[in-house]
Amino acid sequence: MVERYEIRFSGAGGQGLITAGIILAEAASIIEGRHAVQSQSYGPEARGGASKSEVIIGEGPIDYPKATIVDACLAMTQEAADKYAVGIKKGGVLLVDSDFVPRPPQGDYKIYSLPIMRTAKVDVGREIVANVIALGAMIALTDVVKRESGEQAVLAKVPEAFKDLNKKAYSLGFEKMKEVLAG
Amino acid sequence: MAYDYEKSIRPGKLPHIWCPGCGHGIVMKGLIRAMDTCGLEKNNTAIVSGIGCASRMPGYLDFNTLHTAHGRAAAFATGVKMAKPEMTVICCGGDGDGAAIGGNHFIHACRRNIDMTYVLLNNYIYGMTGGQFSSSTPPGHLASTTPYGNPDPAFDLAKLAIGAGATFVARTTAFHATQIDKLIVEGIKHKGMAVIEILDDCPTTYGRRNKFRSVVDMMKRLKDIAVPVTAAAKMTAEQLEGKTLTGVLHKEDRPEYCETYAKIIARVQGA
């Protein structure tokens, strides 16, 4: 069996989590040359409401392209947490936005929390980068790709004018998470 | 007391699926008020739509409701009306549904002058599928399939309806909220095909791409471009440049289709 790592990003529509998933997949498959499949929710629920983006990363070709048992999950809102923080593997991890997910669903996995939206607003000054902060945090949490790969993938995705902003956001997310992990 | 919309809405169906700021909700409220004003009986009224965001409207309304296939509302509605001419039949749906894929059924319903009221929500875009241009997207505007600006001229939907023979044609906008029900009431009372085009907004797939900062911006534009027909009579061509006429644009009396058919039945059976 090819070994696979499954990550799910979830939150409100418009929070940029699809993009976060795509960037992670690019980091893994384009930059690191491994295998990755990204998919996302479509349909009425994708427009407003909760949405999700899944990335499966592996060392060989990925057959089944949807999540089976999720290794790591992000939930940016309570609605997303309720809907998508499911099927997390025993020993897996769930990262939630501490301000927007007051009641993280409990299970046989570790729960972490970070004030992601607040960091975007207060520390970076732009809510729009919350997804990149989240991405940095998830990479820090999971080590599924190298820190640099994630950064490179982020920078490849944004226009010149926004590179610094995103670099900062990514680092913030990464470091804040490492702090939490360091306890 | 606040207006009692709930009595016309199916229990438990709100909130609706439309995006924040989507004008379809404003139009639905107007439609509810209009049906209320006309005192339509729920059991004796059918509301028929195609597919699209606008076409989701019937699902909320506590009447006989028929959510058909993309573009086919007018044709299904024709079947309902011919089968039960005593029913009030209302069509609703988007610009893409009614005039792009559904154009043929639309113009033929106009030609037949069958007694129904077609509420056409023109938000200049295919909302449901994520913002491809429609046959009423203004030239040059941006949509997901017009990355370099829309090369297609837009229909003047009211003009199309008149050209096709509709006997009542009116237009207003989602900004002119109180005019919505007034015109729909006139449409319902009119014996024959009544088309009410309502210029509407889709902040999600049209507004953002075309640099509207907010829904309110879009509303303001609707306010700005609207010129009542009466006022237009006194304006110059230059003044009317870029404007859209609102109000009752056309009204005439012609035999209604089901009545004509009823006469045939009477004649044949009498003979």
Binding site: G48 | M1, A2, Y3, Y5, E6, I9, L14, P15, H16, W18, C19, P20, G21, C22, G23, H24, G25, I26, K29, A177, T178, P203, S214, V215, V216, M219
Partner: protein
Amino acid sequence: MSAKAEIEIIDAYCKGCSICVEFCPTKVLEMDAFVVKVVNADACIACNQCELRCPDFAIKVHKL
């Protein structure tokens, strides 16, 4: 100045589009994160603009 109407907001329906806020002539309403709230009840002149224009059936003007 006393309120001419009581404003009811149905949080579960409100999608926070802020149309009502913008159209209220007397600044009775304000956005609060994702939903609207009444911040200046007394100023309400019962003009009904907010109810009329809310696309989400989320606001009701009960005239006093």
